[in-house]
Amino acid sequence: MIPISYYLWVSALLFVTGAIGVLLRRNALIMLMSLELMLNAVNLSFVAYARMLNDMGGHVFVFLNITVAAAEAAVGLAIILAIYRTKETVDVDHLSLMQH
């Protein structure tokens, strides 16, 4: 039996990886994927806790979170696509119209 804390650590690690990805990567798509990574890391936490607490709630929440993640991904993709079609790039460094 793998202890709960292992799952939590993995989850934390994934979460931080995702966060770093969002903050450091300049490619919009990779940022989006990092965001998804963060959400799924949390899902891992939820499941681990739910297992630990022997509570169905956590599992249900994961379901909901997956939906949210999907909706977020759809919207994110749509935005990135719209940008790509006007700018021909998904590099966020080119998104600087408002930095004056």
Binding site: F63, I66, T67, A70, A71, A73, A74, L77, A78, L81, R85
Partner: protein, 114 residues
């Protein structure tokens, strides 16, 4: 869990074996014409990195949404009889909202292909 793991390993082995066979048994004599992209004998005008039709992306997004819908329906379907009438009403509302989304996408032409 174990049977699934074993199946996965076996499946991966088969795939690896097939890949390995073609890699190591077959001859290897590449030349320029052979490794050029196949376009019925014409030279390739541009490499595929430009835009792709937007409809594919739209389909992908629609799929995400509706696939989630289906995923939500699975647990519902399993315990449907326990939920009873209330379960039906709630799922009707859920499906209703998504159906409106579908009608919207439909009317807006997201499902049209030329």
């Amino acid at each position: 869990m174990l049977p699934v793991v074993i199946t996965f390993i076996l499946g991966a082995l088969v795939c690896g074996l097939l890949l390995g066979l073609s890699r190591f048994v077959g001859p290897r004599r590449p030349n320029a014409v052979k490794s050029a992209p196949f376009e019925c004998g014409m030279d390739q005008l541009e490499t595929p990195q430009g835009r792709i039709p937007i409809s594919f992306s739209v389909i992908a997004m629609l799929f995400i949404v509706f696939d989630i819908e289906v995923a939500f329906l699975f647990p519902w379907a399993v315990i449907f009889r326990q939920l009873g009438f209330v379960g039906l009403i709630e799922v009707l509302f859920f499906l209703g909202v998504l159906t409106i989304g579908l009608i919207y996408a439909w009317k807006r032409g997201a499902l049209e292909w030329d």
